[in-house]
């Protein structure tokens, strides 16, 4: 037992932070100390945390830049909402239906990630970034022209408009093009969100520690060296990319079951969203799972806390973002920080000057 704790100390701290934060928030909510605005933000926040952690697999562990993460979230959101809406009268037990919906979102996003990953993971760096961005946009655009209806004869598909479905009078439109899916059962709540965060963390943290995870990291550090020791590059790249996509799908499920009407707009599934998730990951520290969680929380809450400043809030957000990046990544700022630390801890000067310089590198 002691051995287990020592080995997994770092991971246990991460789980602990999430659980303690959950308990504290639940307590505060039962005491009525949290505004309804903030309460409404909790489920999206959980979804963002899952997104940030899952993107960290691609960016941090695999070392590839992906700008289409919101696309996978979109796949998960739509497939699961479609399922829930179709079966809302068939499977009446909510938790069973929602569990199946989560699995469907996970699998569909994972399969799409696998299919996309196969051709595009041959590309590298910024080329891969732009292709993933393109895929994200394609998924969003396709969702906007997709019409699916159901009547006694089964499902009808169209990419034109709702009339082209040719439904019977008793039929209902399930996916209504740009209007998306309305009337998804509201199955998400904060507790489910936290449970899903913990499951995501469990998957990701174990992946990092496993043989597969080490193979993925070896590819990140040096492709040629990894290949020469017999690591199957394509297999492990696809593995990491698909898991990352599948977990984004789970975040999509959580997100879609919190909304009564789900639409694929540039704001929620466009490249802006993908970029926002990337900002969480980079600001939290690339490859650092706990950092992703913390930065997702801070950056989601920051605009809300600044709401009093209304128009200025996004401006401040932008300035904070630039300042934080400059301060944490610029070599000069790093030197300055190291010197400050060295002066503060002048009695340990010799050690700190040497040891402090690896701060923040991945």
């Amino acid at each position: 037992m002691k051995d287990f704790i020592n080995k997994n100390k770092d991971n246990l701290i991460t789980y602990g932070i999430v659980i303690i934060a959950y308990i504290v928030l639940e307590l505060l909510m039962s005491l009525g100390l949290i505004s309804s605005l903030m309460t409404g933000l909790l489920v999206p926040l959980c979804a963002y945390i899952i997104l940030a952690v899952s993107l960290n697999i691609t960016v941090g562990i695999l070392g590839e830049l992906s700008l289409g993460h919101a696309g996978f979230m979109c796949v998960g959101a739509f497939t699961s909402a479609f399922f829930s809406k179709c079966t809302v009268n068939v499977i009446t037990v909510e938790w069973i239906r929602f569990t199946i919906a989560i699995l469907i979102g996970f699998l569909c996003a994972g399969v799409i990630g696998f299919l996309i990953g196969m051709p595009v993971l041959r590309l590298k760096g910024d080329y891969l970034a732009i292709v993933t961005l393109a895929f994200g946009e394609i998924i969003k655009n396709v969702m906007n022209v997709l019409y699916i209806g159901r009547d006694s004869k089964g499902f009808h598909f169209s990419t034109k408009d709702a009339v082209a479905l040719g439904l019977e009078e008793s039929g209902e439109i399930i996916v209504n093009g740009a209007q998306g899916i309305t009337g998804t059962p509201k199955s998400s709540n904060f507790t489910v969100g936290v449970v899903l965060i913990l499951i995501t963390l469990f998957i990701v943290l174990n992946l990092i520690k496993s043989r597969d995870g080490r193979a993925v990291m070896a590819i990140r550090d040096n492709v040629i060296a990894a290949e020469s020791v017999g690591i199957n590059i394509t297999k492990y790249k696809l593995l990491a990319f698909s898991i990352s996509a599948a977990l984004a799908g789970v975040a999509g499920v959580l997100y879609s079951h919190n909304l009564s009407s789900l639409m694929a707009t540039p704001k929620n599934f466009g490249y802006n969203m993908s970029i926002m998730i990337l900002v969480f990951v980079v600001l939290g520290g690339i490859g650092n799972i706990r950092g992703s969680i913390i930065s997702a929380v801070i950056l989601t809450l920051l605009p809300e806390l600044l709401r009093g400043l209304s128009n200025l809030r996004m401006l401040i957000y932008a300035i904070v973002l630039i300042a934080m990046m400059l301060f944490s990544w610029s070599p000069k700022a790093k030197d300055f920080r190291d010197k400050t630390v060295a002066t503060l801890l002048f009695w340990k000067k010799d050690n700190t000057v040497k040891g402090g310089s690896d701060n923040g590198s991945n």
Partner: protein, 295 residues
């Protein structure tokens, strides 16, 4: 006849993409970074012209000049303040996120000054439309003519500049190897600033032409054309000036034709799909060079 007019519209839109992509590709080639704020400089350029011409009722030529100068200064400032300190950073993602931050900053400053309402941009082009064909069925607007002409001129001037002048050669040298260029006595900082200046000036020109053809101006006007232009640059092989030109034109034609014949909602998806197919078949883009990785 309608096909030819769609084609001309496509070339016109493609020319705008090409001008933006030229700026993108030069900046990428030299600074090795995705300048996400490039699209927003387009928007700043448009608002400058709008303020001078529509709000202050000053002559159009003044608006054009002030806009280009302002965008050039803006480009140099952004590079010096936000990107230069991160040039030696260990992660290339750091500067990417900073660029995103700059993009948000520009959008929100514009939002504060001009508000979220769509402004109607007055065309900067004052040339009569050209009627071609026996029954006058083919109309080419003045904007289209000017856009295509501007693109060709910029393309020729830029190629000459890069290949024939000392500053242009310095740019090539810096994009090839910063350290070696510095040892040869090239001022790397000044060269990078110059690249940003040219890129931003081109963005201002592209913005005016874009808004003259599609006159709706909002703080987010620049972001989608910016992304599309980057796609065009990648399409043609990033870092290559003729590549950006060809990529831009092809992208514009595909976009307009798919809007006309397939679906206006799916046109973006089709553009991106073509990009993916090109990159999967030829990972360095149409005119890109393959760099062999050494062990």
């Amino acid at each position: 006849m309608s096909f030819i007019s769609y084609l001309i519209n496509g070339i016109s839109l493609g020319s705008v993409y090409a001008i933006i992509a030229l700026g993108y590709t030069m900046v990428y080639g030299i600074a090795k970074m995705l300048n996400f704020a490039h699209g927003d400089i387009i928007m700043v350029g448009c608002y400058t012209v709008f303020t001078i011409v529509s709000t202050l009722s000053l002559p159009t030529w003044l608006g054009i000049i002030v806009s280009i100068v302002l965008c050039t200064i803006l480009g140099i400032t952004i590079e010096a303040v936000a990107y230069r300190p991160l040039r030696q950073a260990t992660s290339s993602l750091a500067v990417l996120i900073t660029a995103i931050g700059v993009s948000y900053l520009l959008q929100n400053v514009a939002l504060l000054i001009f508000g979220a309402n769509t402004k109607s941009f007055t065309s900067v082009v004052n040339i009569k439309a050209l009627k071609l064909g026996a029954d006058g069925g083919l109309t080419v607007t003045g904007e289209t003519l000017v856009t295509i002409a501007a693109c060709l001129i910029i393309m020729v001037v830029l190629t000459t500049f890069v290949n024939k002048t000392k500053a242009g050669q310095a740019m090539l040298a810096v994009s090839e190897d910063k350290g070696a260029a510095q040892l040869m006595g090239i001022n790397v900082n000044a060269t990078i600033s110059l690249t940003f200046a040219i890129g931003s000036a081109l963005a201002a020109v592209a913005g005016m032409l874009l808004c003259s053809a599609y006159p709706a101006l909002t703080p987010y006007t620049g972001s989608m054309p910016g992304i599309k232009a980057f796609v065009a640059a990648v399409f043609g092989g990033i870092g290559s000036i003729p590549g950006a030109f060809i990529g831009g034109i092809i992208l514009g034609i595909i976009e307009i034709l798919s809007k006309a014949y397939i679906s206006s909602q799916l046109s973006d998806a089709i553009v991106f799909l073509v990009l993916i197919i090109v990159l999967v078949v030829k990972p360095t883009g149409i005119l890109g060079r393959k760099i062999q990785e050494k062990v």
